[in-house]
């Protein structure tokens, strides 16, 4: 009985933390229409800031001062800044950009935290409040820290309810997310209210971060992941209902603690680590989606470039030729990186049909690559090329199996489901696989006596694969299947009335994408010759999965060359950092920063750069004011504001002189000249 009580107490404590984290997520989503993937990173960052202020190893401020500075100064300021610099521009953006930009923020903030507090040198740990003192409740001890956690959750629940539904500010916040224009026409400044909601959301993230961090060693990625666990609770609340979110958090806490308590009796794929992602996936798939929760987003206006097959084939030939020459030009690390770049490029290409053509954003290409590498090990570690066919088949099948339940999900929900799948693979497949493999697991591909062992042979094999896949995908764009994908992206309703089976299309394209990613993963693993768990992770390791998605989208997801280039460049960033140490920090930050850059260039960097240069040229010729950009925004913030010329309050009625139209016209005249007289200077 005591045992059960203690599990219950522990689950209430976990549930409280999840509830605080998830309610912050729901708050920002309902008040800004943007799902803050970086919520966990903000929590992590705040915990580190608190550690920096509080810890005797750092600045050693007293607890209350450090708390106030973190929760009421740093966190709201960070949220406000995020809204001002980034999120404010996204209200007209397509659904995909609204997903990818916060992911960019997530990646950028993690790298930034790792730069400020290097994991290798900073050994950060926070004490729980009241140094673990406890009271006895019946037969069990409850620490003050646990009581505080619980009290905070209750306070947050009540406070948010009152704020959102009973105050004018809360109503305005909800009104702004529905229609910024209409809110402005009612006299509410939309920017002010979206800034308030981001500041508040960021504060709630910080609270969650401070509550959770005394339980463990501070680590940038793990702390972020812990808060990401709260996504499941928010999804139970359909991302908009706070009471349901709290219910979700209670179940999540209960499931996690039960899994921890009875871990030895459960199958290995159910553990405290996997329960949150399982719950996230199941909740996404099972719960009816609230249509209203998907805010009116602009249709993606991404144009899919029409590249001819001939151009693609010639480019592919060029790539093979380059791959042939590379080993004569490079050695060592650079050569090694070249192989990574080819593999990552191929994995990035897998996103072209799925995301570029069909408009379905998956965050799991790297996970499918990992599945491919695992299959390659189990079926073809001796280098039998036929195993690659198995890789394609099994990964395609896995893709279809994942796609089938997730088929009615779209946009954000699909991204979350694929993220859950990726985390699940990471914990259940990649970790254990790495544990059972030895370091030199893979042999080069071989047919009979001919073995593609030399770097040149391997690179050429990869380049040929990239070229063939690239040409096929380019051709696909012009095929009937490609047109159907495009139709589904542009108007699902119209496509289904034309008799297309959207379910079949989605499963097919999902399977195709997974198969290509798997192929890329297998080739990448062969090139490395080894396998480690971090290699195909979403966030950990040197070449993680989320930055790959970012880079592919930035490169231009609609075209094979753009996506390939994105993946290719990602591989080179660590190398540049190693070669030029002063660039290392910048290189670590780059994937996240370019992801954030999408807020300004929603069509991908390469296509967009060309367009922007043209547009700027045009603008200079026709003397239009330059577009809104960060630099300009900083300038306006720093420069003294122009006086606002809103009129005084108008008087109702006034001296109406109804009917005297001619007189009014005569009095005013068509005196265009008067426009030139600026009342400011008069």
């Amino acid at each position: 009985m005591t045992d059960l009580y203690s599990v219950l107490i522990l689950s209430l404590v976990s549930a409280s933390i999840y509830a605080v984290a998830a309610s912050g997520l729901v708050l920002t989503y309902t008040t800004s229409g943007i799902f803050n993937f970086a919520h966990g990173t903000i929590a992590m960052f705040s915990a580190f800031v608190y550690w920096q202020l509080r810890s005797p190893d750092a600045w050693g401020l007293p607890v209350p001062v450090a708390l106030v500075l973190t929760l009421f100064v740093f966190a709201p300021a960070l949220g406000w800044f995020i809204d001002w610099a980034i999120m404010r521009r996204l209200h007209d953006a397509s659904a995909m950009i609204r997903i990818v930009v916060p992911i960019g923020l997530l990646v950028a903030l993690i790298s930034l935290a790792q730069i400020i507090w290097p994991p290798a040198t900073v050994n950060a740990r926070l004490d729980d409040f009241f140094n673990g003192e406890s009271i006895r409740l019946g037969e069990i001890n409850v620490t003050y820290h646990q009581l505080i956690v619980f009290a905070v959750a209750v306070a947050v629940a009540i406070g948010l309810r009152i704020l959102l539904f009973n105050t004018r500010t809360g109503i305005a916040m909800r009104a702004v997310v529905e229609s910024r224009d209409l809110a402005a026409l009612n006299g509410a400044n939309p920017n002010r209210y979206s800034a308030i909601s981001w500041a508040l959301g960021s504060m709630l993230a910080a609270v969650a971060g401070l509550l959770i961090s005394p339980l463990l060693q501070l680590d940038q990625v793990n702390l972020t992941l812990l808060v990401i666990n709260a996504f499941a609770a928010a999804v139970v609340g359909k991302l908009r209902s706070l009471p349901l979110t709290f219910v979700g958090a209670i179940f999540l806490g209960l499931f996690v603690e039960l899994a921890r308590r009875y871990q030895s009796d459960l199958p290995t794929w159910i553990s405290p680590d996997t329960v949150p992602v399982l719950m996230l996936f199941v909740a996404l798939v099972v719960l009816p989606q609230d249509k209203a929760a998907v805010f009116n987003v602009a249709r993606g206006s991404t144009r899919v470039p029409q590249v001819t097959v001939r151009t693609a084939a010639l480019t592919g030939l060029g790539l093979v030729a380059v791959a042939w020459m590379i080993p004569s030009l490079m050695t060592g690390n650079a050569l090694q990186t070249m192989g990574f770049a080819m593999g990552l490029g191929l994995i990035a290409i897998s996103m072209v049909p799925l995301t570029g053509y069909a408009g379905l954003l998956s965050l799991a290409p790297m996970a499918f690559a990992g599945v491919g590498a695992t299959v390659m090990y189990d079926m073809g570690k001796t280098g039998n090329p036929l195993a690659l066919i198995l890789v394609v088949l099994i990964c395609g099948l896995t893709g279809a199996v994942v796609a089938l339940p997730a088929i009615r999900l779209k946009g954000l929900y699909l991204a979350l489901a694929t993220m859950a799948f990726a985390f699940f693979c990471e914990k259940v497949v990649f970790g254990p696989t790495a544990a059972r493999l030895n370091s030199h697991a893979y042999h080069p591909l071989a047919i009979g006596d001919w073995e593609a062992a030399s770097p040149r042979a391997q690179l050429v094999v990869m380049a040929v694969t990239v070229a063939v896949v690239g040409v096929l995908i380019t051709a696909l764009r012009r095929s009937a299947f490609g047109r159907q994908l495009q139709a589904m992206k542009d108007s699902p309703a119209a496509a289904s009335t034309l008799g297309m089976s959207l379910t079949r299309l989605k499963v097919e394209v999902f399977a195709m994408s997974a198969a290509i990613a798997g192929l890329g993963g297998a080739l990448l693993a062969i090139w490395r010759g080894q396998y480690n768990a971090e290699q195909f992770s979403l966030l950990q390791g040197t070449l993680p999965g989320l930055p790959l998605v970012l880079m592919a989208v930035v490169g231009g997801i609609a075209a094979v060359a753009g996506a390939f280039l994105g993946g290719f460049l990602l591989a080179f960033m660590p190398l540049i950092g190693e070669t030029y140490p002063f660039l290392r920090n910048l290189m670590n930050l780059t994937p996240g920063l370019v992801g954030l850059g999408l807020a300004a260039n929603p069509n991908g960097a390469i296509a967009q750069t060309v367009e922007q240069v043209t547009a700027k040229w045009e603008a200079r010729r026709s003397d239009h004011p330059p577009e809104d950009n960060l630099g300009r925004r900083i300038l306006t913030a720093l420069a003294p504001g122009e006086p606002s010329f809103a009129p005084e309050r108008l008087l109702v009625g006034g001296s109406a002189d109804a009917g005297a139209l001619a007189a009014t016209d005569a009095e005013i005249g068509l005196d265009h000249g008067r426009c030139d007289v600026d009342p400011r200077s008069a």
Binding site: S644, F645, A646, E648, L650, V652, C675
Partner: protein, 256 residues
């Protein structure tokens, strides 16, 4: 007499507002040009809404009526020309600031927050600075039907009721001028007639109104003057009777 030209913003606001109110029309557009990207849609629009009058802005699809409205509300920047509200030059003013000054807009297609309740929608009116306490009571007094549905989510009401809510919220702000875009859109003729009854009532209270419509006949009964726009310019201005004669030409696409 002081003309807006001599208006001194540094002078005491009460006096200057009073001076301006004597002469300047509430809304005055001169030579307004506006474009979306490279496409110019307004090619020099001149428009006047005098005090206490109802002005109907008519014209076929794509004539630039809604763009004209968004130029007045501050949502769209004109590329040249000028917008005066109560005699003050307001090019570049913030829409929220204009709204707080008493410029009330009921946008095209049900200007309600669909996910908010009727009460919360009405409470949004207090963002313009009117006291929050009596906003709801006054709206309900004018539109009793909204009182019955005060806790209902606005998006679940009928189109006519939503339009009524939008008007109620607008009127609760004590507007100096009311801008209405396509009041009749998607509504049954009976409901449109009912809504225009309300507009006429508001006009009798002395509120100036600019109302944009495609369906001309209903609005002409309420208007003091009417303006026809076509292809981004004003092609005719006059009393409702004069305009009625012009209308067929405008809708048949012949230029006048």
């Amino acid at each position: 007499m002081t003309s807006p030209r001599d208006f001194d913003p540094s002078a005491g606001s009460a006096t200057s507002a009073a001076l301006v109110d004597e002469v300047a029309p509430l809304i005055e557009l001169r030579g307004v040009r506006a474009s979306y990207g490279r496409i110019e849609v307004l090619h020099g629009v001149d428009l006047v809404v005098p005090h206490g009058e109802v002005v109907a802005l008519l014209g076929p699809n794509g004539a630039g009526k809604t763009t004209t409205l968004s130029v007045i509300t501050g949502q769209h920047q004109p590329s040249s020309g000028c917008v005066h509200v109560a005699g003050r030059h307001v090019n570049g003013a913030d829409p929220a600031a204009l709204a707080r000054a008493g410029l009330c807009t009921i946008p095209e297609g049900r200007g309600v927050f669909r996910n908010l309740t009727v009460r919360d929608n009405l409470r949004m009116a207090s963002m313009t600075g009117v006291p929050e306490s009596d906003v709801v009571e006054r709206a309900v007094a004018r539109f009793p039907r909204l009182g019955e549905r005060i806790n209902q989510v606005a998006g679940t009401m009928s189109g006519g009721e939503q339009q009524m809510l939008a008007m109620a919220r607008g009127l609760a702000t004590d507007p100096g001028v009311l801008l209405i875009d396509e009041l009749s859109m998607g509504l049954a003729p009976l409901i449109v007639a009912e809504l225009y009854e309300i507009v006429a009532g508001i006009a009798r209270e002395g509120v100036s109104i600019l109302v944009v419509e495609q369906f001309a006949r209903t609005v002409l009964g309420v208007a003091d003057r009417a303006v026809i726009m076509q292809h981004g310019t004003v092609v005719a201005t006059g009393t409702p009777a004069e305009i009625e004669a012009e209308l067929s030409a405008a809708y048949l696409g012949a230029s006048t």
